[in-house]
Subunit: 317 residues, 4 copies
């Protein structure tokens, strides 16, 4: 295949490629484990990731106090040391509160802020547009929209996102909507508008296909466990080597089965819990502790995680 | 009817009866109108309400910054001056953050705190139980649960609520679930457990019927517009005069039609917007301004509100 | 209380009061048990019910073939023998198919037909209005709307229902929406329009309160188990004796706990399954068999049903 | 790229590749236009499609009477004349009724039957499994599962589908769930189980990517309008020429914008309505009439469809 894929030019953008949402390591007593977080940040950068996403859902942002959010961000920014951009989630109910959360993060040096549609509030489309406009006006760094209807009452329409992109309100979107049909349309509308947005998929199991259809990057929770794999995947996709990208994706998808080891548990417990369990087994963080009130994986599920890691030769059997 | 209705004994409880969720008056520029808020607080107490609910959905809590939340609460507590208890909403994503919001409110003198199930986080029942337990452990005042599945991902099961009541974790629940069938069952389970919970309906159009089936009180958004009506309604219900209660309810329901004057607008715009428009027309607050990014009712809808008020002789025609 | 309650006049209407949705008794091999059905029909009429609802959700209408639907309806119509009106559900995807189901039922002598909003089809409000208009045009007997958003994609708006009532398209509505706030508003709009509709609640645990707010009748699944209780309840409500109505309701609600004996089972299995288990224990039907693929209650749940029946002295302990 | 893609072997299967869900042409009075249907069937086969899907959502199956379903199927089977397999939807509430619909279709010569999870009934996973088992037992031709949670209350879990495939209950699945993340996992589980299922995506805008990740075919509603495009797309994908497949997909996606010409209309009106409008403009069917109660596209929307067709040179400008 000789045509140069669009995604390679996208990589030249400042925000593109593999941007893992860092887990927030905790000590056994539930307090922040900033040493593990610092070590993990170095590990990710050295693995070749293109950016870091602090305070995302995978980072248990919902469970962290304001003070903990600052400590987490300061640690990541310091450890990253400008080698890659740091994006941070300012997750709160509405624009005025998002700005209260975001401004201290900007002071700590993050390169961009991520915000969702309003929470708890019940708004229509015009109000949601104003929500993003108000946040952007209050910020001195770029704003990303985070489309995550499983956690927020609203799915962000592609027309709305592209319109906000053309106005310069947002510079990109992380799509965790599970709706790749609409994501494909978002890519097309964005392209037709001159590519104002950098578009990231949040679905780590379909990165090859989303790169193929034109995504600018990925925010893979599973990238905490196997960052190098996602870097290889993205690199193959960027050079149009789809067979290699798919091969790497299938290996990562076999690894992703760790999130199904805790059936019956809550989504946060099963998802982030399995990432932390695997990272702990791999020595990437010191504890698998989850933020209160979520319990870590039980022994049986952890054993299943271990078997999956061993089966993929990430761990000695 | 000679049997003494259960609800009359409930009125002897500290938290019971008519507890309006105060709107948050704003000046034309969107900043807090604390003078109107103080005046409105006096007005409600003088109308005979049995408690005040600060920082509820009707109070646009989702749109207020932390600092604004404190100013609103301080104003209400000072104006109430101990004449009736003040309950305040500490609405945030999870327990640790709810406590960050709640503790300053307790310092300001509120008599109880209200919290919902987790937001944004995706938890199971055991985790939600722990969420309320952790909040209660951190508080020196009683905790109410707020069941509002239209704004929060979870409907609180009656068994969970009664269990938390029996443990002393929560002292009551405000039910805005729209599910009166389950609310009836909650009342029955609560009664069977010795009435550990004070149960408030949030549905202002069915207070007569909910009092009839055993509710301990009501949190009526429309009580901002006609507090005296709700006091009369509740008083009739408390003495078992159901015909009078129903008659008053039907009058209030004709007033409630103001929320349908803005079809097509967002729920927050149509609901709280119409309360503020009516209060402004009645001289209860100085402006009908809504919190950004919500626009107030337009002229056409305001005119419809005026006609409804005039039709009920609350306003000169 | 001297005022004459509105509900007493409603009883003079042809379709009003207690109209149980008959279960469909089955033999052990899953075929129709028409002998039990005939006996049960007589039992209900003799208990004083005001009408019979054949082929409702409680009648497992979804699971019956066209031929079985005809046999069930013929049996009920014959056994009722004109003593009370028979209403029958014509549940299918859209108007043309509803008519295919309904016309043979009309030929069998049913007094009215019940239909839901479209199923499977994805329609807007104008299309749903046309759906009911087309059904009504094809029928020689009155049409009821059945509002059951847990089974059908659409909640029927009160304005739409009253408009269809005023046009003569429908003569009433069975409300199983679980949304008593909107049902209250439906009652008010219907009253303001001159009461074109007979309004039935489908929620058997809140009949006293719904009669109090002006419902014209109830379609109680639990009425299969204790028809006499619902007749007493409704009779007390009709004469404005709310204390007696509430007392009877609370007894029936204690009986309704049978539906919670099978937690974890499907709604159809837990609900209709517990009705059939109780009816079988009470000798009202010969088998508790459920329609394929639903399994009847297991022994443990049946034992719990038996204890509830015994605790209420409906069965010897 | 030298590796032979898996999808090429899938094409050797009897059910694979491009299988359009035929619209049901109607005359101006709403009756069946069997001449247009026959002509369209020939057109599709001659365009090279690999199969035909009668009585799908796009075929307005929900709106057709039993008799109309038979006439439609007979016409398609006769016109196809064995050149490609014909699959037909037997859409009804539960297994016994699905069989009532399906058996006459089998008698007419269809090669396979498609059924959804139960409708209206409220079942759990075990009951849904039994639903499919009972249908399969009653059929002499293969059964496909149709996963369409926007029309049916249940999303079919990939584990359930693969288990039913391994048992021989179903031979494939049409996925219209909009959830490509889970579809990817279904493909992986199916592969690990030895490929018991033929897996079709119902999302016509992402066929290139779904072929890339291993889908066995596509059921494209838009294939009614441009069958040749889908055949070219699939052919390119089958030989691993992803750049060509993507190029064709992007052209088809520009065509798919016809479904957005009627914003504010119901999904059935906007979707199938735009297909029929385009087909009528292209001379593929004689009328754009929709099944009652759905109105066809209005003139303004039809003009937009015409412009899109002209812009893609499918029609003279």
């Amino acid at each position: 295949m000789t045509t140069k894929p669009k995604t390679s030019s996208a990589l030249s953008q400042r925000f593109a490629g593999v941007v893992p949402p860092l887990v927030t390591p905790l000590l056994s007593d539930g307090s922040l484990d900033l040493h593990s977080l610092e070590r993990h940040t170095h590990h990710l950068v050295e693995a070749g990731v293109h950016g870091l996403f602090a305070l995302g859902s995978t980072g248990e942002v919902a469970y962290l106090s304001d003070e903990q959010r600052l400590q987490v961000t300061a640690t990541i920014v310091r450890a990253a040391a400008g080698r890659v951009p740091v994006i941070a989630g300012a997750i709160d109910l509405t624009a005025s509160r998002v700005l209260e959360r975001a401004l201290p993060l900007v002071d700590l040096g993050v390169d961009a802020v991520v915000s969702t549609a309003p929470l708890y509030a019940l708004n229509d489309r015009a109000e949601i547009e104003q929500h993003f406009r108000r946040i952007a006006r209050g910020l001195s760094v770029p704003l990303f929209a985070y489309d995550v209807p499983v956690r927020v009452p609203t799915k962000l329409a592609p027309e709305l996102l592209v319109e906000l992109g053309q106005e310069g309100v947002i510079v990109g979107c992380k799509d965790s909507s599970g709706d790749d049909v609409t994501f494909r349309r978002l890519i097309a509308l964005n392209e037709a508008a001159g590519h104002p947005l950098q578009l990231f998929t949040g679905h780590e199991v379909i990165v090859d296909a989303m790169a193929f259809v034109g995504a600018d990057g990925v925010v893979p929770g599973l990238g905490n466990v196997d960052a190098a794999g996602y870097v290889r995947l993205w690199s193959a996709a960027a050079r149009g080597d789809w067979a290699t990208a798919r091969h790497e994706q299938l290996r990562l998808n076999a690894l992703f089965e760790i999130v199904f080891t805790s059936r019956g548990r809550s989504p946060d417990a099963a998802g982030v819990g399995s990432f932390k369990a695997a990272m702990n087994l791999l020595g990437l963080i010191d504890h698998a502790t989850m933020a209160t009130p979520v319990e870590p994986l039980d022994d049986q599920a952890s054993a299943r995680v271990r078997r999956i890691l061993a089966g993929l030769e990430l761990l000695a059997a």
